[in-house]
Chain length 207, copies 2
DNA sequence: AGGGAATAATTACAAATGTCACGGTGAACT
DNA sequence: AGTTCACCGTGACATTTGTAATTATTCCCT
């Protein structure tokens, strides 16, 4: 028996989803919540197999709640429900470790998707798959947190990653070439790399 | 009733999959093939709801077959079966428009995944989702067509893109360091680049 | 057998790169 | 004022890198 927790702002949506879900005899909706905080509390208490949750909610968003829950329950299976596919949230949801992304209106797909998720798969709509390449491309700046990289150092890193040599970088940043070289040495030390080529590679791999 | 076409090199695998599938009363295996060519022919003739196909096959690979089929039947739902998740193929499969990627050994997940795909979802295992960001980075091997790059040159390019220096590359390829340098000069000339760092960047940007 | 053509090595040289130790700011703190 | 500290620059050095000219080797060709 699959135990599902449903969380959505809109009580009407909760009700209709509950109805749809319980068409499957192997499914029980063990709880219903209406914002992120409730989601966290209910998840802790009920330990459902799957959490079906809206992304946009007052009080606390689905993303925040998901993050909190996955912090405690690393294996949690969380499926997001949304009225439309919202680019910005999708990548975050994926990074967080969500198991999928469903469109509320698409009633038919909810049940089969849940079953697929239940046995360990991830489920995404066509629209999202189509957008994936762009989304991944669009990925934010390289993450240097944890390496203690200063702003100036970052300026240099970016230019190394553009293929500039030290003279060009010095000129662009109004520094002497020597300073650029020294700073680069510091950067390589901080990132445990050997040369500018490895730095450029690091830059493109970490995003 | 879902009509499935199964294509796999290994007859034993075909048989066991067929058995598993027909546990679901709403599923029929309408045909079985053993290589890419058969897949194309059978698909044309049977017009199944879903094509479940191995990626690696003698004669003609699953990828080639999928490409051909999707050319004619743009809406075709194709699911790849594989014994392990093979990075190189995954991105190609995604680009092609495959609906998912299943692990053969994971019997349980096959049936629910099929149903999810049938109603229009895409299904992927956890391992693949985890790798997605890198895969997108990595999408396809860098395209050097039009630049007239030889195999040996490509070997060197790949290693430059891994951050190796000339000595290391020479050692890995059983060449002298001088030869590596000379070849690198040729490569840079061909690609109109200035140094190895720009080459590494080029490598990661063009894919 | 002799004449390319392709591939690998060697050599030499100039330029870029990475590393270090050191000196000179100037701002901030007490 | 004195001190610390972060920042920029310089000079010197070893290494790596990129380029070019030249030679050796092999294979192919007719």
């Amino acid at each position: 028996m699959m135990r599902i927790l449903v969380v959505d702002d809109d009580r009407l949506v909760c009700a209709s989803i509950k109805t749809i879900l319980e068409i499957g005899e192997d499914i029980t909706v063990v709880g219903v919540g209406h914002n992120g905080k409730e989601a966290i509390a209910l998840y802790d208490r009920l330990q459902p197999d799957i959490l079906l949750m809206d992304i946009r909610m007052a009080e606390m968003s689905g993303l925040e709640a998901a993050e909190a829950i996955l912090n405690t329950h690393k294996q949690a299976k969380i499926l997001f429900l949304t009225t439309f596919s919202d680019d910005e949230y999708i990548i975050k949801a994926l990074k967080l470790g969500a198991k999928g992304y469903l469109i509320k209106q698409d009633f038919e797909s909810i049940l089969p998707s849940l079953r697929a998720v239940n046995i360990g798969q991830n489920v995404f709509g066509d629209d999202i798959i189509a957008k994936l390449p762009q989304l991944m491309d669009h990925r934010g700046a390289t993450d240097f947190s944890g390496y203690n990289i200063s702003d100036k150092e970052l300026d240099i890193i970016k230019r190394v990653a553009e293929g500039l040599n030290n003279k060009e970088i010095a000129h662009e940043l109004y520094l002497s070439e020597g300073t650029v070289r020294n700073t680069l040495t510091i950067i390589l030390e901080k990132l445990s790399l050997r040369d500018r080529t490895q730095l450029a590679i690091f830059y493109y791999k970490n995003k």
